[in-house]
Point group: C2
Chain length 297, copies 2
């Protein structure tokens, strides 16, 4: 990781912490318990991978940072709500997230459910409330892409495929289908929405970036599966070894650790190849993919 990239990443992460704090209902606003839970779920950490992708993609389209901040905030709220619901006892039943008690542990089950629901609405609210696209039609397109990516044929659909798969032997293509939905859809949306904030790209350019995003989405998951077996809970900030314990299929359980690492390397090469036409405009996208991969080695 170059020093320049490290500074860029740290800058976005700090900027998003402030931005999200403003994009969420303020502390103390009634109903206070709900708003506390929403803020607890979103603020205070997280790697902010999706916002980083939004900003990196925005560079390619020369997008204004003020717009990227709103789009990144909306996507991060969708991501945060999915974690809150995913951690609930009826889903993954997880007590630890980002090194802290999960929302239902810190508050209660019903409040966590409502906080997740309200975060999804808040994402739509900020994305419809501010001018973040060159025109209203492009902004509607952003809302459409985000809803598609987070709904039953995107993230929620992936979670259902995940539920249906517990205890079943999956093939690698089936596992891939799950992840393309569960985490891949929102990662692709991050890149798409980042570029929609700026100068319109050609269909060929959009297709290249979308291919990059698909590769990075899978890459991210392969790395996550590797980290789940190679790192401890303290380092991860969430319960390590949980997938194996829950008998969930992962890239490591299907491919083995060495082959999973090779797959990560191949996905990285594929992602970088898709960025070639963009030259230096894709610098951050390039370094981001390399950074995600480096976590697993």
């Amino acid at each position: 990781m170059t020093q320049e990239f490290s500074a860029w990443m740290g800058g976005i992460q700090a900027r998003m912490e402030t931005a999200l704090g403003r994009q969420l209902p303020p502390q103390g606003a009634l109903p206070a318990r709900l708003h506390d839970a929403m803020r607890y779920a979103v603020l205070g950490g997280g790697k902010r991978v999706r916002p980083l992708l939004v900003f990196a993609a925005g560079e390619v389209a020369d997008a204004p940072e003020a717009s990227l901040e709103v789009v990144a905030g909306a996507i991060e709220m969708i991501h945060a709500y999915s974690l809150v619901h995913d951690d609930l006892p009826c889903m993954d039943n997880d007590d630890l997230r980002r090194g802290r008690p999960t929302v239902h542990k810190e508050f209660d089950y019903a409040t966590a459910l409502l906080a997740g629901d309200a975060l999804q609405a808040q994402a739509t609210l900020i994305l419809s409330d501010r001018h973040v696209a060159p025109d209203a039609a492009a902004q509607l397109e952003m809302l459409r892409v985000l809803a598609q990516a987070s709904g039953s044929r995107g993230m929620c659909g992936g979670q259902q495929i995940d539920l249906d798969a517990v205890g079943k032997p999956l093939t690698e293509p089936e596992l891939e289908l799950m992840h393309i939905h569960k985490t891949g859809a929102l990662i692709r949306a991050s890149v798409t929405l980042g570029t929609l904030c700026g100068t319109p790209l050609s269909p060929q350019e959009s297709a290249k970036l979308d291919h990059y995003a698909k590769c990075v989405g899978l890459l991210f998951q392969v790395v996550d599966d590797i980290l789940d077996v190679t790192q401890d809970s303290a380092t991860l900030g969430k319960t390590a070894g949980k997938d194996a314990k829950d008998d969930k299929p992962t890239y490591v359980s299907i491919l083995g650790l060495a082959e999973a690492r090779r797959k990560a390397q191949t996905l990285l090469e594929d992602a970088l190849a898709a960025l070639e036409p963009f030259g230096t405009r894709a610098r951050c996208l390039r370094e981001l993919a390399e950074f995600i991969t480096s976590r697993s080695f």
Copy 2:
């Protein structure tokens, strides 16, 4: 209820059943279990009060029915998701809804959670995907109004106030604050979005209609509280007497049955007065308020 109004109401209800069937992901689309649960939650009954309000408000603004159908579908999906989550064991823990097992009873807890989440996304999807407003800016405004009405300062906020109130003695103003959020916000949004589909109204006209919607929102709740003590589960299609059993404050528990009925009558008169400037254009809105009130006598 006039025969004409009854035919209008039946027509909208039948039309919405078909429309919602098309607006939801088709049966059998993968992941099938999630889509089955979403369709189960939305289709096969319900009074469709919010769609009726959308269509009735649309008449005032001379709105095209094709647009009203989409807007009504989006709002009904938000309403349906809120019922699915509200019925979950961690919330109201209800087994019966619209005379059938609730979604988590028919499917399972995790699937019900995801179906609710995905319905919220589906509402945003259909409202951003089709042209339903005179221009893209008005359509963004629709999304903003709906997100505001369903989020932490609308419906979800009302549910949190409801949670916080269990077992506590509430005053009538406190109860009203809860209902203005919990059910009132989405009912107001129904009227607003219905008019946004058509010829723009003057600010004075919009304010009058909004006052109507506020009154009808409360009226609806007062009537619901009355029905909860005067009707049995078979007639209601949900568990009767549940509020009293759960020690939840209601208009009947605070005011008594006779006073609650008087309150309903006053709210009806207030609602009708707000419609005066609209003449025959507000015919359906007028009859709808009367119909809602009549259920409690």
